[in-house]
């Protein structure tokens, strides 16, 4: 089992009711992980969600590694 540090922002933080959580999983990719967390927390459908792995933009189909920090990035609205 891999241990992953998930941090939530904005609408995802509100829906999850958590700033962060430690997830133990055998899921292989951020895409599979996001689908699972969406089921668990009831995340809304959004146009474009990105993923960051260890504080850098990452690939939805990258292989998750034990100890990775993961952030899902809902549509941004700076400026």
């Amino acid at each position: 089992m891999k241990k992953l540090n998930i941090e939530y922002f904005a609408i995802l933080r509100e829906r999850a009711g958590l700033d962060r959580e430690l997830v133990e999983t055998d899921l292989a990719t951020p895409a599979e992980l996001f689908a699972e967390l969406t089921r668990r927390h009831g995340f809304p459908e959004m146009a474009t969600v990105k993923v960051a792995i260890n504080d850098e933009f990452g690939d939805w189909h990258a292989e998750l590694q034990d100890g990775d920090s993961i952030v899902f990035i809902p549509p941004v609205a700076g400026g």
Partner: protein, 150 residues
């Protein structure tokens, strides 16, 4: 100086302007983004910006470097607020100084456009009716739900 910063409290753009003045520069362009009292037909009372700071700083600084590579500017600085902001407050400031005005205008425009689309910063608006919403997130969610029910 080429840089992007996040500010948790009010800052003074005049002081930032002075920090990027230089005798080699014949032009200075700045942009201020302010909190507006309406958005998409709703009256906005105040709002909250939240940042994923570690990545926002990386991506913001990448944008500033790109701007400096594309346009020959002397200094380019951008500061984005986080936290609670009231109507009229300064949300984002961009300042560019350059030898000539054209590159200063173009770099400033490039920076603000890219910042809005790429930097992981989110805005939650609080409306007069008591409702609130994360801009670009809730609307999409609503449309997605509409689609499912049709």
């Amino acid at each position: 100086m080429i840089g992007f910063r996040i500010a948790a409290a009010e800052f003074q753009p005049e002081a930032e302007r002075d920090s990027i003045a230089a005798p080699t520069c014949g032009g200075y362009v700045s942009f201020e983004g302010w909190v507006r009292n309406r958005n998409e037909g709703q009256e906005v009372l105040y709002l909250e910006y939240q940042a994923y700071e570690a990545l926002a700083l990386k991506e913001g600084n990448r944008i500033m470097t790109e701007a400096a590579e594309r346009f020959p500017v002397q200094h380019a600085l951008c500061i984005h607020r986080v936290g609670k902001l009231e109507v009229g407050d300064l949300a984002v400031w961009v300042g560019v100084s350059a030898g000539h005005r054209d590159e200063a205008f173009r770099a400033c425009r490039y920076i603000i456009d890219e910042i809005k689309h790429r930097v992981p910063i989110w805005k939650k608006e609080y409306y007069s009716g008591g409702d609130s919403g994360w801009v670009n997130c809730e609307a999409c969610a609503q449309h997605a739900n509409d689609g499912q029910h049709n």
